[in-house]
Symmetry: C2
Subunit: 875 residues, 2 copies
């Protein structure tokens, strides 16, 4: 059984494909070696060795032999001796599982140092302090990792020594101080009845065992559980020659990117330090130089670095983030990985690489994070500005906004009318606040999650929004908001950043990001690749226009109830609710008809030639009743209805669980005249436009059905009204009738329902609520605890829950299309704009997703990515 | 193509197996003929002929030929002539589909009468009045059914004639009056530009066509839609010789059962009239004689009747309900069908028939309606008593109860303490009313459905209960209830019948039904046949005892929250809710621990040797807070907590959708100390009993989980506490840990959850709420309209919705058992006691159902029936 795989000097036994056996880090070291990248030589002990060790409780004789052979091999390559008193070879011993588990498992550096070799190292580096510092680090790490001595013991010893010597920082300790520290460390070992092994071989075997054991430490186990990593993978162990950048002025260390991670511009970008170790760059005690300066100081090294960087970038076909060390005039590459970058850089790099012939368009499309595309559209807080952070909440709708605090919708409207820019700050918002939200620059709430009313409406409006600011106390009575003693009065300036969730005191300067030519090119490829269609959720002509500009191919959800809340209508809607007979209700609805018709005409006009899905009235009627005493009095006076009667009606309409109550299709079945009016408004609007030569494709959608029987009844009702209008007007309208699938039973019986529907639109918001039995309005009480305990690793209202809710969605698609081959299926919940969810919807055969306008770019990109991934690995 | 099938005089072309072709009624006429039962001869025109007619719009020449042949055949058999002026042959023309669709389609009698044959009939019957009455009926039916003349026209004509002649009833009209009526009917025909065909052949063809057309009339189409009958079956048409029981004293008509339908006793049971038609028996103008009297008057006929009855009973292997007519000394059997019977009779007949060798035990088990078995256990309103019906509601929990009206729980307790029998009357009940329900004889509510709080608790308590009495106005303030102006004061007597939903004024005498020896025998067979286990939902030792007596094989659901509401505890529970830290909460829970332990001990003791499933706390905590101002004041004073703080806590805990809020496992995750206390109480109780030599099998059940992660966390918590207690006590308890499956996501991911659960108990109540998106608390607002419109043909909270909810249940069973072969799956929702649902659960592989004690008998029987049916038609 082969357990040990060598790498070094251009030859490696493994390669990048052997992640299972060598771990991710190991496989990458082997791969780099094969690319003739100067990687410090070493060997990888395989995951199979780890599993054997965990089973047997000790390293087998065979395994120890192979490790010895590995050490001999490295000795020959580097011309140093492990345990040598002249030229000692030191190793780093690091874990490396198949997937990266950052910080979860253990590492031991400088293996091979002992009381003798430390002196040899001091001599060869001419740096006794460095040698003793390396030695005490080994002793400390070994004690902690291998022997389980609490690391506080060692830290306490350093602190004590510094106090005694009157030194403020570790850096001030001299070589003698550190030698003394080593002695004190040995005393700690004694206290724990342990001994530091002077035998380098014992150090090495113990270190390998400790790395293997760390696979099963508690934090690694928890990490695996959370990330669904199987327990039986095991970790590999990389034993690699230590190299040092602090061996004089011909040594150094640095990091660099192969392209600018902020802008994407081509060329090395990074920094370095001469005569320093990697940690010195991080520690920030010396200021590193930009990497270009290396060109002057060490032109040959710089040329090599450029060559290797280019080789690595072309090999990995992506911008690389490279760590390097120069030891006595020799360049070593310690690590390479894909570099993090801004969204702007990501786009530029992807497009440039296509043009350089490194990657193809499909790959370019995969390189950009769809979730960040909307950042290109929103103003941002100027990153260079000095800011005073007030508090932080959940980023609910991207972009930044500056305005004066307004604590109520009416105050916001008043201030806006006076010409002020306003941030509406509320504990949470309700449909009554829509007026205030409409005039505000941004919205801030102390309660609610990213799918709360405030968040959903703000995203729909494309306004920056921060929600769930737990620290924030909104005191409407006193006209002030407070965060940990800091007060901001109504009318004072704040700035919110809906991309990060941050809230700043005062006015912060905003900068506008502008889509680039690279972006235009990328989106062209995206649209050519994707097959999933993208529509928008919009309620007004203005938003329809924006959506179309952003590439929407129709409206997937137009919520008619938002129209009902407008100032000039809400009282007519209330009249309808107070109507005592179907006739009286019809009379009132006659008043609403022309208003609705105009609403629809506006949207149809903007979406000329594209389908527009209009959802018939959905929310429970009590949502339209007056909420406050004042509103109640106003309505009572205006209509001459006694307050007692208003309250009585409110009591009649109140529900224990409104989410599961009288709403959606149930309204249409109890009060058919409402859906009749809405259908008439839709078809009349369509007729008006068609007479003016504008092509319209209305799709009439029934919400919240659970059975084909409801669908059949309402479809008949809608068809009758539509036919009547078309006959009256002598205009033919190509309209469709479909339904939301937003209750589990609708998904489970989709085969039946599809016989009576032209299309399904899957309402994943409500479907998630009922499938999980979680009311979004009440979730704040327990969901945070669930997240903290890893019980809800991802918010199912943000990312589609593929296992549960997704199973129902898949069922709806498959059952529906099986009985109705013409059936179009869309998704119009919040998930329709979430990139990973979009990929899932593509995979299961959904025809289109519909999302708020500002998520359209991301949805388009995610759809293209889904198509590319499907072609890469069909299944 | 053969369309017409003859039957008569012992020979028939069809038989009982040909229902598809001949319809149910037709196949039965052929079968009886083959049994040498004297059926009036005739022929059946097949469903294929119907479909052909509906396709072509006319009777084909071939079909008309075959009908003519049929008529000739019958003429030869009966020696009469169709259209003959001497001895006219008359036909009835009746529809008859594969399954009975009572009253949905059309019938025409006396076909063959015209102005000439009516005189011949008058002569042969010596009854001119009868002949003309038959004639005018033919004209009337023909006009209505064939020609579509509104039947009101004919009825108006009769009324007018009666007024003119000064006659009060139809019976008083003479033969001359009727002859005049015929003339007037012809005038009506003229008004509609129609003519009554004098040609008998034309009458016959038109009648057959009308019967075929009636397959597609609106009420038949609606009926088929509701009952899921395919449109393409078509109906057959039976053309049969008319026979008359009113041709003199050697004629007569009657109905009889082959056994007593009230008691099941063997022997003919029925009544007859000499010289009368069938409708005379129904009309009630003459009082019929008991069928035994026929033995005296016509001993030969009686002997024949007995012989035929026995033959039919043995042939159909069931008690028969037979219609017969004697025409001029000749006995005809017109119809036979399985007779309706009381539950007591059903049991006796089934058991007797086994002992007579007519049926086997499996068949006997199928013969009894499980839904009615509980009638045997409850006192009933004495059927012979004169009663004054006050109003009617929904029958929610069977049995009758007499008591004085109490309008509040406290009043009920007060009156009960004073020794009064009480009926608790409330608009609806809440957990606070449990005390009053406990002392009441029965419960009556004006609101709520059969799964309302009142209904569920009453069934659990085995108390009669009537809910949803819409007419009932409960005026607690005035201390009175009102129904349409009738007032009953608090303290006055009423009687309720939870089996029928009826409410009577005053005290009505009740009678106790006592299970018979026949019953005992049947249940013995039932238990031997069934494989599905039956458990009970009980919360107290008393109910556990009753459940065991009724055959429960364990407790499937013990709800711990009911224990929390008891008077001596509710304030401790409230202390827990007001606790400000986990420690304080633990302290309060210490007080509850011994009380809970005693609760469990009581139930374990009653269920010795049987499994007891205990559900950990489920309802949202706000349910335990004081509801009224008075309670709040009491609690505030007793505990020294300011009312403002109580209100604050209530506001904090209040939820928009409590059904989907902080409850179930979510409580256990936020407040682990609650579940820890409950687990400790369960295991300690088990240890105590085991030490006393009593075997106990506790099953600890977690409610409302949606993921395996929650299950794993809570299972670990429960196991830790249980192990600790067992170690402390040094007693081993064989306990299990499982979960409710009551959210769609739990069912959808049951394969995962099963890895961490020993058992599933499917909570079909909540699963139905979330799958349909219907809150039971709010359903009353729209469900009645849904039922009225046929959108919810069956209440999904009563009968499991197989298509939707059932699909999830099936998924839970299959997925769960696939990953955990040891997994036991039960059902503990209301459906667990519903016979048809029990059959479904058996079919999909559920191991046990659990229901309220009084539904156990029915569940046992339904389980046996399911097994029998499975063996009859496997798959």
């Amino acid at each position: 059984m082969k357990y040990v795989y060598f790498f070094g000097n251009g030859y490696a036994e493994g390669d990048a494909s052997m992640r299972d056996l060598l771990g991710g880090k190991g496989a990458n070291l082997h791969e780099m070696t094969r690319l003739n990248i100067p990687v410090p030589p070493g060997f990888t002990v395989s995951t199979e060795a780890c599993l054997e060790y965990l089973r047997m409780g000790e390293l087998s004789g065979n395994l120890r032999c192979q490790i010895e052979e590995g050490v001999r091999y490295v000795e020959r390559l580097v011309g140093k001796g492990f345990g040598s008193k002249d030229n000692p070879l030191l190793f780093s011993v690091r874990s490396g599982a198949k997937v990266s588990m950052p910080g979860m498992m253990d590492t031991i550096l400088n293996v091979g140092l002992n009381s003798e070799t430390v002196e040899a190292l001091a001599e060869s580096t001419s740096n006794r302090r460095f040698a003793y510092d390396s030695y005490r680090r080994l002793i400390q790490m070994f004690g902690d990792v291998v022997l389980g001595i609490p690391h506080e013991e060692f830290e306490d010893a350093i602190e004590k020594l510094k106090r005694e010597k009157g030194k403020g920082t570790d850096i001030e300790l001299t070589d003698d101080d550190l030698e003394e520290l080593v002695e004190r460390y040995f005393h700690i070992y004694k206290k724990y009845k342990a001994e530091f092994p002077q035998d380098p071989w014992e150090q090495l075997f113990c270190a390998v065992e400790a790395v293997f054991r760390s696979w099963n430490n508690e934090r690694a186990r928890i990490y695996r559980r959370i990330h669904n990593i199987p327990d039986d993978w095991g970790t590999a162990c990389n034993v690699q020659t230590m190299v040092f950048g602090n061996m004089g002025d011909d040594s150094g260390t640095g990091v660099c990117f192969t392209r600018n991670p902020a802008t994407g511009e081509k060329g090395l970008f990074g920094e370095f330090l001469i005569n320093a170790q990697g940690e010195d760059v991080v520690a920030g005690i010396r200021t590193p130089d930009p990497v270009e300066k290396l060109k002057e100081i060490m032109p040959e090294i710089y040329a090599q670095l450029e060559k290797y960087a280019d080789r690595l970038e072309r090999h990995y076909k992506d911008m690389q983030d490279i760590e390097f060390t120069i030891e006595k005039g020799k360049l070593y590459i310690l690590q390479t990985r894909a570099g993090k970058r801004t969204i702007a850089a990501a786009i530029r790099i992807a497009v440039d690489m296509v043009e350089e012939g490194i990657i193809d368009r499909a790959t370019a499309v995969l390189r950009v994070d769809p979730g960040k595309l909307d950042q290109l559209l929103h103003p941002m807080v100027d990153p260079d500005e000095v800011k005073c952070l007030l508090t932080k909440g959940l980023p609910a709708s991207p972009g930044a906004a500056v305005g004066k605090v307004a604590l109520s919708s009416s105050k916001a409207e008043e201030m806006a009318e006076a010409g002020d820019k306003v941030i509406l700050v509320r504990p949470e918002t309700s449909p009554e606040d829509v007026g205030g939200m409409n005039v505000a620059e941004g919205i801030l709430t102390s309660r609610g999650g990213v799918t709360s009313h405030a968040a959903v409406v703000a995203r729909g409006m494309g306004k920056p929004c921060v929600v769930g600011c737990g620290e924030l106390d909104v005191d409407e009575k006193e006209g002030v908001i407070r965060v940990n003693g800091v007060e901001v009065k109504e009318g004072e300036w704040i700035t919110i950043d809906g991309t990060t969730g941050e809230v700043y005191l005062g006015k912060v300067r905003l900068v506008q990001a502008k889509p680039s030519e690279h972006f235009r090119k990328l989106m062209e490829w995206v649209d050519r690749i994707r097959t999933l269609r993208i529509r928008a959720n919009v309620d007004t002509p203005e938003h329809a226009r924006i959506a179309k500009e952003l590439g929407a191919e129709g409206v997937g959800l137009c919520r008619t109830e938002h129209m009902f809340f407008e100032k000039d209508r809400i009282n007519i809607v209330r009249d309808m609710i107070f109507a005592e007979s179907s006739e009286k209700r019809r009379e009132v609805l006659e008043e609403l008809l022309p208003l609705q018709r105009e609403d629809f005409k506006g949207i149809f006009r903007e979406m000329e030639g594209l389908p527009v899905t209009i959802r018939l009235l959905d929310p429970p009627l009590h949502e339209f009743l007056p909420k406050t005493e004042e509103e109640m009095l106003n309505f009572s006076q205006e209509r001459g209805i006694p307050v007692s009667k208003i309250k009585e009606r409110m009591r009649q309409l109140s529900e224990v669980n409104p989410m599961l109550g009288l709403r959606g299709a149930r309204l249409g079945i109890l009060y058919p005249e409402i859906y009749e009016m809405q259908t008439r408004a839709i078809i009349e609007a369509a007729c008006d436009l068609k007479e003016g030569g504008c092509e319209v494709y209305p799709e009439i959608m029934v919400p919240l059905i659970f059975s084909v029987r409801e669908m059949r009844l309402l479809r008949d009702l809608i068809t009758q009204v539509a036919n009547k209008v078309m006959q009256e007007r002598q205009v033919f309208v190509n309209y469709k009738v479909g339904t939301m699938i937003e209750l589990p039973r609708a998904a489970l019986t989709a085969d039946q329902i599809a016989r009576e529907a032209d299309f399904f639109s899957i309402g994943t918001n409500d479907l998630t609520q009922t499938t999980y039995g979680i009311s979004r309005d009440d979730a704040a009480k327990f969901v945070p605890v669930y997240v903290e305990k890893g019980l809800l690793p991802e918010d199912p209202f943000v990312k589609i829950d593929e296992l549960g809710v997704g199973k129902l969605v898949k069922m709806a698609v498959e059952l529906g299309k099986a009985t109705n081959h013409q059936l179009k299926v869309g998704v119009c919940g919040e998930h329709g704009g979430h990139p990973q969810s979009v990929r899932f919807f593509h995979k299961i055969g959904v025809d289109y997703v519909s999302c708020s306008p500002y998520r359209i770019l991301g949805a388009r990109l995610a759809a293209a990515q889904a198509k590319v991934m499907e072609e890469l690995s069909p299944s």
